[in-house]
């Protein structure tokens, strides 16, 4: 539905295209914050007020921002911080400290990082001096010495907050939240997490010190709003240099269908951006607008089943083994199988039904079987693999029947007897 036509009056097409790609890529790759967060006005206001009170009044706070992946938690926080730092009084007064649960995997590292970012006096250059215990004592002492009105507020931003809750004794969280609940240096502890049950992770003492403010980012966008978003995401900014490079919107049903499908699958912007990025990359000087086919193609790439792709690259022998496994699954109702069983099933097929495929040596079949295991299409169920002979290791198939059938349909020049066998198993006589 979105189409962009380019008329090259002032600028050559190539330049326009590169401009467009630059602007849109910045948008889709989250390198630039949007002007205003969409669909989260109340949360934005709440968070901004909260942080402003910390920055201006020196009031300590703690808050959790909870929302599914890709729902814009970080974007919201960054927007708020950007807005906050624009205020003149605040700008020089707050000390933001960014931590990420994936980077600071234990309290020792986290403490060093905090100390480094606060640039306390035991930091020289980038190096933090002292042991873990000393660092903790030093930081706590520093925070304790501060008071509401005179020391600079510290904003602790804990990304992947839930991971901090797995640290030993939750020492860091306890101390940060304790500071936020006592008359020490003003702090705001902001946690970002996608876990709805994050509070249950907190130890009772830590939990009691947390203020229980949670900002939920659960998008309740309707499809119409979703479409609007797509439109605004693709629109060029007002001040785009070439005025004749204009947008023409053209509602195309196929595009709406694609977007509907994406909307059904997930509402978050990250997957949308991925889709649009793929479409955008097909824009070139010779083809200066995004056409519905581009989107369809992009959508196909996004939605494609990864395992079906792998199946297309298998040899006939491997495919036959997979079909044998499928039949074993049917017979034994999902119980694990071993190589010998598969091989027997395969031999039955060769003896009774096969016209096109000739016998393979056992080592060759084993090799094919091992290849399947390396591709993780089958998975060993035994934990102690070393002791059992390869042929008798129990395996399970990691493929759905529909995937197999679909792959067979698309497989280039698949022998018909194999196809037939896939549908009808070789019956015992």
């Amino acid at each position: 539905m979105s189409k962009r036509k380019v008329k090259e009056t002032h600028m050559p097409v190539g330049e326009c295209i590169s401009q467009v790609q630059m602007i849109l890529r910045e948008r889709f790759c989250h390198q630039r914050l949007p002007e205003k967060p969409v669909g989260m006005e109340s949360q934005h206001k709440h968070l901004l007020e909260l942080l402003r009170r910390t920055a201006v009044h020196g009031e300590s706070n703690s808050v959790l921002i909870v929302g599914p992946r890709g729902s814009g938690k970080t974007m919201l926080l960054n927007c708020v911080l950007r807005e906050l730092l624009e205020v003149k009084d605040v700008n020089k007064n707050v000390l933001p400290v960014h931590l990420n649960g994936l980077l600071q995997t234990d309290d020792r590292i986290a403490l060093k990082e905090i100390t480094r970012q606060l640039n306390l006096e035991n930091v020289v250059g980038d190096k933090v001096f002292g042991s873990f215990a000393e660092n903790l004592a030093f930081l706590l002492e520093a925070l304790k010495k501060g008071d509401r009105s005179s020391s600079r507020p510290v904003l602790f931003i804990l990304d992947e907050f839930d991971l901090f809750a797995h640290h030993k004794n939750q020492t860091l969280l306890y101390n940060l939240l304790d500071v936020s609940q006592s008359a020490q240096a003003p702090v705001a502890v902001i946690g970002l997490t996608c876990r709805l049950d994050v509070l249950e992770l907190l130890e009772k003492r830590v939990k009691s010190r947390f203020s229980h403010r949670q900002i939920h980012l659960l998008s309740s966008l309707s499809f119409i709003q979703y479409l609007d978003n797509v439109r605004s995401q693709l629109s060029l900014p007002q001040d785009f240099p070439d005025t004749n490079f204009y947008d023409e919107w053209n509602d195309d049903q196929s595009v709406v269908d694609v977007l509907q499908r994406h909307y059904n699958s997930s509402k978050d912007f990250r997957s949308l951006h991925l889709l649009l990025m793929l479409a955008l990359s097909r824009v070139s000087a010779s083809k200066p607008a995004i056409k519905p086919t581009d989107l369809l193609e992009a959508s196909r790439v996004c939605m494609v089943d990864s395992k079906a792709n792998i199946l297309h690259g298998l040899s006939i022998l491997e495919l036959c083994l997979i079909i044998a496994m499928k039949h074993l699954n049917d017979i034994y109702e999902g119980e694990p199988f071993n190589f010998q069983m598969v091989h027997n099933e395969f031999k039955k097929f060769l003896q009774r039904k096969s016209h096109s495929i000739h016998n393979f040596d056992k080592p060759v079949v084993i090799k094919a079987f091992e290849h399947l295991q390396q591709l993780e299409l089958i998975k060993s169920m035994d934990s102690s693999t070393a002791k059992i002979q390869k042929e008798y290791q129990l395996m399970k198939l990691l493929l759905d029947h529909s995937q197999i059938m679909e792959a067979l349909q698309k497989y280039p020049q698949c022998p018909t007897d194999v196809k037939q066998w896939a549908i009808v198993p070789v019956l015992e006589t």
């Binding site: 201006v56 215990a133 004592a137 020391s151 306890y174």
Partner: protein, 876 residues
């Protein structure tokens, strides 16, 4: 600088000297004339006689207690050696809050005559470390660089500083027979009494009998008063040594650069009233280019050698052995106070140079030229001091310094062999560098005295400008050890609350300290009585306090301590130390030792060493000790497999001399039974208290008292909050947080923050909803269509299986069927897995590790009813 007190203690040997001159039948005590102290393995002996000022072993190795020796006595068997003393206080021992009464900045060497009558003035003679010099009241202070002489100007009677009555100084010593010729009264009024003459006088020890008789009487007297007023004794003691720590820190900071950090520094005794022209002085003067002093100094220097021989007799440090790298021990009883400071390298450097030059040059200067002495010194100084921070101890330098000093010692030793018994020089080997000059110049000609004094005043006024610069040098970025923990301060001060709602919010913040703690009166009283009685009796004990989070345990104890501290300020109870540790605020249970020790004495040591030091501290008797109140928060985290941390914490209070009150806090009521082994639980004792969760009335009262007439809430709204919280947890923090949130909602509900009225029911309801409502249902409602479908598939599969668990493969079959029913295009397995992972990330589903791919098992994290309810609402 971290100080490790690792030195070996040398054994001191004490022997009575002279004949026992009295026998008190009643007390079976003998009086003795003097006490000979010697260090094991060394021949030299120091004699301590009554009337001298002595240093007494205390908690702080750097600042021993000071007292004047009144008399010695012991029992028949000569095993017990006692001494009667008149205490003197250092400023650091005066309670912190009373220090201001002094009305001027104290001199670091100043001591105060202690007038509190009840302080236990009987000490164990074997705790005497040595003697010290003392200067009477109207001598002006020298500049702070000199640290071996103490000055008495004022007396302290636990309430105020008074001008010292000379009679007092005269009176007390009255009972001490061999009162040394002059030191104490009419200060240096008698310029005729030259230091030179003093030495011999002092040595004329033999005690006149009449005084002995008098003393015998006084012995029984003091005993009587002691037993009678025991409580007051304790009181006085603890006051005496109050806040020793902090002050000693300050002092040591001042001394830094010379030898402040030498643990075993002991004061040197000087007899002359008006000496103390130190090298620091010289330097100072030099800096100020007051060359007019040259003459004085050179004179001084010329005279100094002989004098120093007269009475610089140094008492060897008992502990010097292990500290001195080499043969220092061999020269413990040297004449003249040549000292080696090993700890501060910079000082050492200076000293080294000056030492090397002085002996010979001094003489030269005295004879030949006038200027040289000072000139030379000055040169040394100017060469040396600017480089101090940079030229940090090369080892060789240190060694050479020692060599030189050894040589000098030998020389001086040869010069003097008759003076060994002069015990007034308690100069040890580690006396700060500046002393060497001082000691040699301290016995000046009388004529010089006055002049010198005049300049001293000036010099001391000038010193401050010198010390800071030194400090700056020390706190270079490369030594983060000296870093002070602090958060940078803001440029614009925080804004004060503007309207009623903001005011209310500030008051409702958990951090704001309320005027009083309502609803915990009983608990408050119990804890107060417990701690107070222990402090009053000078005994120890443990108390265990339990309660769920947010019931005011820590707050109540802090309130108790505040009240008790107030009481001790009003002199109703003895002073005490309050120390707080928190199991959550340390990285390892053994860090508890480190933190306790650091808070007690400001030392930083390793955990094992700290445990040893604390063990020593709490098990050894000390002449003056105040009660320590230790709050251990989050006790359960101090659990170790052997439980030795807990064991020690509960064992120390049972020691006789510990005077330790331990208050422990944890959440569970039966913690002692659950996690402690018997010997730990038994030591914890049965003094327990549990804090019940607040009832709704109490919560309401808490909020009302916090708001304190700021009218921001409707009565009903408050009641709703408190009822709701009381029903759930009784956590006061939660209650306050909800109220705070309600004020925010109220503020935002109106367009103008100023026009916002009271916080009403609906605001509170909204806040409660926000905080208590589960987000799962909203999350399900906001999920995408495929996610919702997947949830339905999960439930359908569960129903089919009759289990609460299914593999993804099974669920996916259901999912495909459902999407066909719904008329949706079926999704691929990869997409299905993505949907499943998204739900798992939100924890709507519980998933196995994703490497299991299709075989991972899926469980619901929400009840099936909730899911169905949420989905039904969506469809409607």
């Amino acid at each position: 600088m971290v100080r490790y007190f690792t030195r070996l203690r040398m054994r001191r040997i004490y022997k009575w000297g002279g004949r026992p001159y009295i026998f008190d039948r009643k007390l079976k005590s003998y009086g003795f004339e003097y006490l000979n102290m010697s260090v094991e393995g060394q021949e030299a002996v120091t004699t301590v006689t009554p009337g001298q000022y002595i240093l007494i072993e205390g908690n702080d190795d750097e600042y021993p207690f000071v007292a004047k020796l009144l008399k010695f006595f012991g029992d028949e068997s000569h095993k017990q050696k006692k001494a009667l003393v008149q205490w003197f206080l250092r400023l650091s021992e005066v309670p912190q809050n009373k220090k201001l009464l002094l009305g001027r900045s104290p001199h670091p060497q100043e001591i105060f005559y202690y007038l509190g009558r009840a302080c236990d003035n009987e000490i164990n003679a074997e705790s005497i470390l040595g003697t010290v010099q003392h200067v009477p009241e109207d001598t002006p202070f020298p500049e702070p660089g000199t640290k071996d002489t103490l000055y008495v100007k004022l007396s302290w009677d636990t309430k105020a500083f008074n001008v010292l009555d000379p009679v007092l100084m005269q009176d007390t010593p009255a009972s001490t027979p061999p009162k040394p010729a002059l030191p104490l009264f009419p200060p240096c009024a008698s310029p005729t009494a030259t230091p030179v003459s003093r030495g011999p006088v002092r040595r004329a020890l033999p005690t006149p009998d009449p005084t002995v008789m008098r003393r015998a009487g006084s012995v029984s007297d003091t005993r009587a008063t002691m037993s009678a007023g025991k409580r007051s004794t304790l009181e006085a003691e603890s006051i005496h040594s109050a806040s020793k720590l902090s002050a000693s820190k300050i002092l040591s900071a001042k001394r830094r650069g010379s030898a402040a950090d030498t643990p075993g520094v002991r004061k040197k005794l000087q007899l002359s009233p008006g000496k103390k022209m130190t090298r620091a002085d010289v330097l100072c003067e030099l800096l100020d280019e007051e060359m007019e002093s040259e003459k004085v100094i050179s004179l001084k220097l010329s005279s100094s050698v002989s004098h120093s021989l007269q009475h610089g007799c140094s008492l060897s440090p008992m502990r010097s052995g292990c500290k001195t790298p080499n043969g220092q021990r061999r020269f413990p009883w040297k004449l003249s106070s040549i000292s080696l400071d090993r700890l501060s390298p910079t000082a050492l450097g200076e000293q080294d140079l000056s030492r090397a030059t002085t002996p010979s040059r001094r003489k030269e200067s005295a004879m030949a030229i006038r200027k040289p002495a000072l000139g030379v010194l000055a040169e040394e100084d100017s060469e040396d001091s600017p480089m101090q921070p940079i030229a940090l101890t090369p080892r060789s330098k240190r060694k050479s310094a020692q060599l030189v000093s050894l040589r000098i010692r030998k020389q001086l030793n040869l010069l003097d062999n008759t003076q060994k018994l002069i015990s007034d020089g308690d100069d040890d080997c580690f006396v700060p560098s500046k002393k060497d000059l001082q000691s040699s110049s301290d016995s000046e000609e009388e004529t010089m005295v006055r002049k010198t004094r005049g300049r001293n005043g000036k010099a001391s006024a000038r010193t401050p400008c010198k010390t800071p610069s030194k400090k700056v040098c020390m706190v270079t970025p490369s030594t983060p050890r000296h870093a002070t923990p602090s958060i940078p301060s803001r440029t614009v001060p925080a804004r004060q609350p503007g309207n009623i709602l903001e005011e209310a919010r500030a008051r409702l913040h958990v951090s704001s300290v309320p005027e009083s703690l309502p609803c915990r009166e009983q608990e408050f009283q119990d804890i107060y009585n417990f701690v107070e009685s222990k402090v009053m009796d000078g005994t120890g004990g443990c108390m265990y306090i339990s309660g769920v989070p947010g019931t005011g345990k820590t707050a109540t104890i802090h309130e108790v301590i505040r009240c008790l501290q107030h009481a001790s300020d009003m002199d109703e109870i003895p002073t005490f130390r309050f120390i707080e540790i928190n199991g959550m605020k340390m990285t390892d249970p053994h860090q508890a030792y480190v933190q306790i020790l650091q808070k007690l004495t400001d030392q930083k040591v390793t955990a094992d060493h700290a445990a040893a030091l604390l063990e020593k501290r709490f098990s050894n008797p000390a002449p003056k000790k105040e009660t320590t109140v230790l709050l251990v928060d989050e006790l359960d985290l101090l659990w170790t497999r052997k439980q030795n941390v807990m064991y020690n914490l509960f064992d120390w209070p049972t020691r006789r001399h510990a005077r330790l009150v331990v208050l422990t806090i944890a959440n569970t009521m039966d913690l002692p039974e659950r996690i402690m082994i018997n010997r730990v639980a038994s030591r914890l004792g049965l003094t327990r208290m549990s804090f019940q969760p607040y009832s709704f009335k109490q919560l309401q009262q808490i909020i009302t008292s916090r708001l304190n007439k700021v009218k921001a809430f409707e009565e009903d709204a408050l009641q709703l909050v408190s009822r709701k919280v009381a029903a759930l947890s009784g956590d006061a923090r939660r209650c306050l947080d909800i109220c705070r949130r309600a004020t925010e909602i109220c503020e935002h509900s109106t367009s103008h923050p100023s026009s916002a009225g009271l916080v009403r029911m609906n605001h509170v309801m909204e806040a409660l909803d926000e905080m208590f409502s589960s987000s799962y249902i909203t999350a399900i409602r906001c999920a995408s269509l495929q996610e919702q479908l997947f949830l339905r598939a999960v439930i359908a599969e569960f129903r089919r299986l009759g289990l609460e668990e299914a593999t993804f493969q099974q669920v996916f079959v259901q999912h495909r069927a459902l999407s066909r029913v719904e008329g949706l295009q079926p999704i691929s397995v990869s997409e299905g897995l993505a949907v499943c992972q998204r739900l798992g990330a939100c924890r709507l589903l519980l998933l196995e590790a994703s490497r299991l791919d299709m075989l991972q098992r899926v469980r619901l994290n929400v009840s099936q009813d909730d899911v169905l309810y949420a989905l039904k609402a969506v469809r409607d």
